[in-house]
């Protein structure tokens, strides 16, 4: 039995970046508290203009209220800083839109025995997850590009369901990519010698909101997301070898 499998929940911080998630945030907080009863639940309010903050506080979560919208990268980094500075052993990142099932959270924590960051993945095992053609192509492309850049295969490169140990928390508190954070952070961590593991999870449909890529097979926004992420992966594979080496 590994170190993380018997860890007290009060050494775990679950943070969720939220932007206008008033309709789903309460349910996600309650489900997280159901599966990790002692864990600290923190909502990173990323400049919402609805009632996300009030609902989250009423549901018993702590709220970091960012003064304006920073985007997913800035919000995730704020959560990592919070977990790192408050001495938590494990930080779990989970979406506030209800897409990630908190019942898998403990599996993610346990997998930290063998890795610095664990990704809740839709693709390492057969799950019921189905997505658009463009999204599937994008995910395969990112996975292939990351393998070319780092020599290691990661299947679910865009999943935002992740667990971090203190080593990864500390590094990412200083350096976290702002624009295309999910695939970029994988490249960055792998090239800096961190270990990443994927654990199969089921992802349900969002309780609210819509994905950037959209539901249809093709959208210009989706195509832009794909191209810009691919470029970001390539640029990060150059940057991580030099820039982060100075730290």
């Amino acid at each position: 039995m590994g170190y993380h499998s018997w860890m007290d929940d009060n050494r775990i911080c679950v943070f969720m970046p939220a932007y206008n998630e008033e309709s789903s945030v309460v349910e996600v907080i309650e489900r997280v508290s159901q599966f990790l009863p002692g864990a600290r639940v923190v909502v990173i309010n990323d400049g919402s203009f609805d009632k996300t903050v009030e609902r989250a506080e009423q549901a018993g979560a702590r709220v970091i209220d960012l003064p304006f919208n920073l985007g997913i990268g800035g919000a995730v980094q704020a959560g990592l800083k919070y977990a790192w500075r408050n001495g938590f052993e494990v930080a779990i990142e989970i979406d506030a839109d209800g897409q990630h099932d908190p019942s898998y959270a403990r599996k993610l924590v346990e997998a930290l025995d063998e890795a610095d960051m664990v990704i809740g993945s839709r693709f390492v095992a057969d799950t019921d997850y189905r997505s658009s053609t463009l999204r599937r192509f994008g995910i395969h492309l990112f996975s292939w590009l990351i393998q070319q850049a780092t020599g290691k295969r990661v299947y679910d490169t865009t999943s935002g369901y992740r667990a971090y140990n203190r080593k990864a928390m500390r590094f990412l508190s200083y350096y976290y990519p702002a624009d295309f954070p999910e695939p970029e952070s994988i490249v960055m961590l792998l090239l800096k010698g961190f270990k990443i593991k994927e654990v199969p999870v089921e992802m349900s449909k969002r309780l609210a909101g819509e994905s950037v890529v959209g539901k249809s097979d093709f959208s210009f926004k989706g195509a832009y997301f794909l191209v810009s992420n691919a470029i970001a992966i390539l640029l990060m594979s150059v940057k991580a070898r030099v820039y982060y080496g100075k730290s």
Binding site: I44, R62, V63, I64, D65, L66, P67, F68, L70, G74, Q77, A78, K81, Y82, R85, A178
Partner: protein, 131 residues
């Protein structure tokens, strides 16, 4: 060259001279605007160095036209004013890059500041609740 001859060449003929005068005036106006903005506190001197470099090199190349011809010859450009345009475009490219670098730095600083604000505000609210 008498005054009348100079003016007639400037107005009626001698397109190269007219272009040269226009470029000199343009460069001087650019430098004056930069100085004016610095004096009014609207432009930080540290950020105006690239503007000065571009303005001064424009003045130098336009006043000393043989220098421009020499530069054009070096690059195998048969029409000298085209070399001037190349210098101008190069300068603007440098400026755009300079401001992209600055924007990147500010982007990071603003993000860190907003995160610190959020984290401190959470601690402040919590300590007020406790006390």
């Amino acid at each position: 060259m008498g005054n009348l001859e100079f003016l007639s060449r400037l107005v009626l003929g001698g397109a190269a001279l007219r272009t040269q005068m226009l470029a000199i005036v343009g460069s001087l106006v650019l430098l004056s605007v930069v100085v004016y903005l610095i004096r009014g506190g609207k432009l930080k001197p540290g950020y105006s160095i690239v503007w000065f470099a571009v303005g001064i090199s424009m003045v130098v190349f336009t006043v000393f036209s043989p220098l421009l011809s020499w530069f054009a010859q070096m690059l195998d450009i048969s029409y000298a004013p085209a070399a001037f345009l190349l210098i101008l475009v190069g300068g603007l490219f440098l400026l755009a890059l300079h401001f992209s670098v600055l924007t990147t730095r500010y982007d990071r600083q603003i993000r860190e500041l907003a995160q610190e604000y959020g984290l401190l505000n959470e601690r402040f609210k919590r300590s007020r609740k406790i006390s």
